[in-house]
């Protein structure tokens, strides 16, 4: 049997180690997913860093989640929404808006169509088609029911079809 010694390794030992691995593995993917969702790479970069900080702060809990990357994506997306909302208020208050960096698709028609989708629909499209997550994984990440994911995706695809092909 292993002895119970009196070292000073904190209880979070495992969580800390696994966060590093998680961070290295997922940061880029989540950033890209957020950038595609938000249409803004600067905001996405800030968002993923912010979300990663929060994941680190509560890794003991987050590490128990089935879809940790989904949690970080969701936190990042919500944080970005907050920023956008704050930015809207700043504009109302005549303060200069922050600069943004828009994404550029190689297919401008598709870019227009995707970016015209509501954020909630775009996030489903990105998680489903970029990260290749299952319906359940997308639902878990966004905190919505799988049925809602399916209906949002269905509506989004219909909308994209109309925009790109002219028929539903």
């Amino acid at each position: 049997m292993m002895a119970v010694d009196t070292g000073e390794i904190p209880v979070v030992r495992f969580a800390t180690g696994s966060f590093e691995a998680f961070y290295e593995t997922n940061r880029q993917h989540i950033f890209r997913a957020l950038a595609l969702t938000l249409g803004n790479s600067d905001l996405a970069a800030d968002s993923v860093d912010e979300a990663m900080v929060r994941a680190y702060q509560r890794w003991r809990t987050v590490s128990t989640y089935d879809n940790q990357a989904g949690w970080v994506y969701r936190v990042g997306l919500n944080w970005a929404r907050s920023r956008l909302r704050k930015r809207k208020r700043e504009i109302l208050s005549d303060q200069p808006p922050e600069l943004s960096t828009e994404l550029t698709f190689s297919d401008p028609d598709l870019e227009r169509a995707v970016m015209a989708l509501p954020l909630e629909a775009r996030s489903v499209v990105v998680l489903r088609f970029y990260l290749d997550w299952s319906t359940d994984e997308v639902a878990d990440a966004l905190g919505i029911r799988p049925g809602t994911v399916k209906s949002r995706l269905h509506r989004a695809m219909n909308e994209l079809r109309v925009q790109l092909e002219g028929n539903p």
Binding site: D5, V11, F19, E20, T61, K86, R89, L110, V114, F129
Partner: protein, 519 residues
Amino acid sequence: MSLEKRIRDELHDTAERLALVPGEYRRAMERGATRRRQRLAMIVTGALALGVVVVAANAIELAGPVEPASDVATTLGPVPPVTSAPGSVETTAVPVMMADEIVAVASIDGLGVYSPGGETAFLTSDPYHQSISWAISDGEGGLVFTHEVTPLPWVQGTLMWLGAGASMPSPLVAPEGGGVITPLEVDQGSVFYRLDDLAGSSSIRAIGLDGSDSRVVVGPTPMLGSAAVSEGLLVLSLGGDCGGYALYDTAGTALPTPDWASECGPGVQNDIALADGYLFTLSDIDSQRQLVRIDLETGEQASTPIIEGWQVEAEAASRVAYGGNIIRVGDFSGDEFVETESYSEGHGTFAFLPSIHLAANPRLGSGMGELPCTVLDVPNPEPTGLPAPVEEKFQQVFTLAKTCDLEALAEVVREDGAAFTYGGDEHPVQTWVRNARFGFDIMPMTVRILNTPPALVDGIYAWPGVFVTNSEEDWQQLSGILSAAEFDLMYKQRDDIGYLGLRVGITEDGRLSYLISGD
């Protein structure tokens, strides 16, 4: 090419062109640590700036009727000379005052009540009370709030209500179509809130605290700057070059617009608050940020520059707090009160709560021993053939853990000399509470661990048995008990360091030897 493939290919192609500067996770940690330090500094600074008087922890435990505070320490800072408001309205000073109080902070870590010295009187750290973004009082000792990240299974942004005495928040309403809900005020039994939808318009809605009578008060309103509700009156400030104000009753009926509300006035693009027949807003006057008070009936305006303090007495029963562009009014009726403030990049919110009422909520705190711990309603295991002394201790620890009886379990630890931590001489409850604050709720994990087969070595029965055996069969016992991440990590390292997660050891003579994790 199918549409799906076209989308998939384009997303991947575009993503491939996105380069993120390689990050170091340590930088993330450092940022996190910096934020925590900043938050603590903010709390302490804020408390000191207010001239706060400590409310002792035992005072927080009072649950009886609240006596009006008769000895409010009204040490006032000097009020600078009043300047002129727009339109050369003659102004008078709004008195600035400070009072005895403690400070509650709604933040990413939960709801905390802090004394001026920065000590935590309580802190809720379970997932249901973490990451609070906006909070207001329900007027009866509870909270109405939204999370920055709403815990599952609720929809992101769901408006929650934690009533006085409740141990869990109840969902009131979820944002439709992924919008953002911001609670405004509880008035006449209804929660009034603002819904910003993703299309960019905003509406004002209400719902009863019991979840009934959900209604739209004012429909989609573009350029809505801010909204405030008080005593049957709803005021909207509208953006644009000179949006002015719009007044409604809380049934949504538009009221005649007073002259002052239709003119370009102060603060129409900023947040507003209502109290005592006044509208409060912020405005830049003479190049200085000022709090402006407008008499709703007469339109008479008064202003006071914003200096160090951030509380202003409205009249007898209300106060105004401001921070950045956000102001809130609290109705404290002379009672001591606390404020909640979210910490999120300066877009804080303020809500005022009677502190004693708040603390009367058992969930929200009466000392370290009652901090969050997840009680499990599970039966004790049947006797498993363990020696009687071991069985007795096993059942005792199981029962205390599942009922979150931290104090009693700590007494067992103390009497038996059990190891429970690898550092410091703190009380076991402190250790468990500290871990709970960081999301590691040891008690329910203890219950789960005790449900696995033990193994005997050197006269100690150990749960889980894999701690002793390191066998594949015992490892698999843990697959549904540990998180997937923890299991994967430990399993990968099983040949090097074995199992070092939470474990329980009971000696053959029935003494708790350890309840510990780590190495």
